[in-house]
């Protein structure tokens, strides 16, 4: 209890004081929940990490909304986009119009993603398998997420005009980051998300600065906008599904909590991409032939919550990327070995 509580304490201290009695009640409820994990009378206090995540996921399938989304990282980067999200309980269509950086519009129909780049009159067409894996993740969720993360409701807050529950999802070991999630009280929709390092420092923050729930977003209108204009070039990144075994790669020992999800050959980049997930964070291992000219600098660097490590492994060059702490990337690179 103590470390988890220490992490939330600084940022919530002022609010706690202001909330007075409510704060005292919250702290009390948390202590009870942590020591004996009883089924408290308040339904919000007893949700498990899986239940919270399922609720957040369902909200994005059930609710339509329009809003402005802002992402900022600890090293000063900030981006924003206008979001339109429509769904009918089965299908989801989303439009994301960038408001910062290069002009681009991204459309998503379930797993199909089109990114329109007007400056180069190019459309990037991608199929993101990972967006469809939640049914499968349900299983992973049951088995893995509660083993490596715990969730606690740590208070309430108002974000983008909505009352929210603040849910703290903290890792149980040092191989993953923690999250602080603001979940809209009635629907469960995620309206704000922070990625926290082991000291509780915010590495990255994503939030709606303005949100209109149950907005009249017409799905067919968004679908019509996905038509590729005449004269635009369509780019399809090539990724051929394979297995690490078939490519001659294996991990000497698994990295705790991370399960191999997929493996692709990317001919354009000349690399193999092996993807792992622990249910909340994902890691990509990129493996290519070692090139004395280009691959000179082994090292590590960070951009927001995304960390990258490069290392030579036998006659190959490995780049490990993920929203995880450096030691997790190191564990992957040390365990990777060529089998043939």
């Amino acid at each position: 209890m103590a470390p988890g509580f220490a992490r939330i304490a600084p940022s919530l201290a002022r609010r706690r004081v202001a909330q007075g009695v409510l704060a005292f009640w919250t702290a009390g409820a948390l202590t009870v929940a942590a020591t004996a994990a009883p089924r408290a009378a308040d339904p919000q206090a007893e949700r498990t990490v899986s239940e919270w995540l399922a609720r957040m996921h369902d909200a994005s399938r059930q609710r339509s909304y329009v809003g402005t989304f802002v992402v900022s990282s600890s090293n000063g980067g900030m981006s924003s986009a206008r979001i339109w999200h429509a769904c009918d309980g089965q299908r989801q269509v989303e439009r994301i119009e960038s408001l910062s950086g290069e002009r681009r519009s991204t459309f998503r129909r379930d797993e199909e993603v089109l990114t329109f780049l007007p400056e180069s009159r190019t459309v990037r067409s991608e199929h993101r398998d990972s967006l469809g894996v939640f049914p499968e993740l349900d299983k992973l969720d049951q088995a893995t997420i509660p083993e490596f993360y715990s969730a606690q409701r740590v208070g309430s807050d108002r974000v983008a005009g909505f009352e929210t529950d603040i849910v703290q999802v903290l890792p149980k070991d040092a191989l993953r980051f923690g999250y602080r999630i603001w979940s809209e009280k009635r629907s469960g929709l995620v309206v704000k998300l922070q990625t926290l390092d082991e000291g509780g420092k915010v590495l990255e923050q994503a939030a709606f600065s303005e949100l209109q729930m149950d907005a009249p977003v017409r799905m067919h209108q968004l679908l019509q906008m996905m038509a590729v204009p005449v004269g635009w070039r369509v780019e399809k990144p090539q990724a051929v599904k394979t297995t690490p075994g078939a490519e001659g790669w294996a991990l000497k020992a698994p990295v705790a909590g991370f399960r191999s999800l997929n493996c692709y050959k990317r001919p354009a980049e000349g690399v193999l991409q092996w993807i792992f997930s622990d249910g909340l964070a994902s890691v990509s291992l990129f493996i290519e032939d070692f090139d004395r000219e280009r691959h000179v600098q082994e090292g590590l660097f960070a951009s927001g919550a995304t960390h990258t490590l490069t290392r030579r492994v036998q006659d190959s060059w490995v780049t490990v990327v993920g929203e995880v702490p450096p030691q997790t990337l190191k564990a992957f690179s040390l365990n990777l070995e060529r089998r043939r």
């Binding site: 995540l53 957040m56 996921h57 994005s60 989304f69 802002v70 992402v71 981006s79 924003s80 986009a81 979001i83 989801q92 994301i96 960038s98 950086g101 991204t106 998503r108 990114t115 780049l117 180069s120 993101r128 990972s130 939640f134 993740l137 969720d141 997420i145 999250y179 929709l189 995620v190 998300l193 082991e198 420092k201 990255e204 994503a206 004269g231 990724a239 999800l261 997929n262 980049e269 690399v271 991409q273 993807i275 249910g279 909340l280 994902s282 890691v283 990509s284 990129f286 280009r294 090292g299 590590l300 660097f301 960070a302 951009s303 995304t306 990327v321 702490p325 450096p326 030691q327 190191k330």
Partner: protein, 186 residues
């Protein structure tokens, strides 16, 4: 439409069919056409992004450099002319040594400019080294020299965002985060 207008319209992607063919012809016809084609792209880029990432067209740059080198050589040449003995050697040198020198100098200049452009880009987008962050544990033998974030690494990061999002939060906030944050690989 005169040739310049044609090239401008071509650079903006406004031409179709026969006009397109004419535009391509105008842009390829002579050095002036090629220079115009290049300049319109540069102007477009500056208007869009506020900075010029492409620099001067290589042949224009080299032509200018060689012209300047020739001028300097012409200015320097008369001085030793008073020493009759040296003159024939200087004359001979003008034929090929200067050409060679100019060639080597051009190459060196191109390499230097290229190096600067590369360095400047690297510095502009260079992310924080984790070793500089107090919160990062010192578990890695991260070198003290900053790692230059190159286009290739950006592509790998994009590939990670594209296929690596298999998490419980990807349908709610994960995808929005990636699409908002994403810098498209150019």
């Amino acid at each position: 439409m005169d040739n310049q207008e044609l090239i401008s319209a071509l650079a903006d992607g406004q031409l179709q069919g026969e006009a397109f063919a004419l535009g391509v012809q105008a842009a390829c016809a002579d050095p002036r056409g090629r220079e115009a084609w290049y300049s319109y792209h540069l102007v477009g880029e500056v208007l869009r992004t506020g900075k010029a990432g492409t620099g001067t067209a290589p042949d224009v740059f080299l032509a200018k450099l060689q012209r300047r080198l020739r001028d300097e050589q012409a200015a320097a040449a008369p001085q030793p002319a008073s020493r009759a003995v040296v003159l024939p050697v200087r004359e001979a040198a003008n034929d090929w040594v200067w050409k060679l020198t100019a060639g080597v100098a051009s190459m060196a200049a191109v390499v230097a400019v290229g190096w600067n452009v590369y360095g400047a880009n690297g510095a502009g987008t260079q992310p924080q080294l984790a070793s500089a962050q107090p919160s990062a544990p010192a578990v890695l033998e991260a070198s003290a020299a900053p790692m230059i974030r190159d286009a290739r690494l950006d592509r790998l990061l994009a590939a990670h965002r594209q296929l690596g999002g298999g998490t419980a939060l990807s349908t709610s906030s994960g995808f929005l985060r990636n699409a908002t944050f994403e810098a498209p690989s150019r």
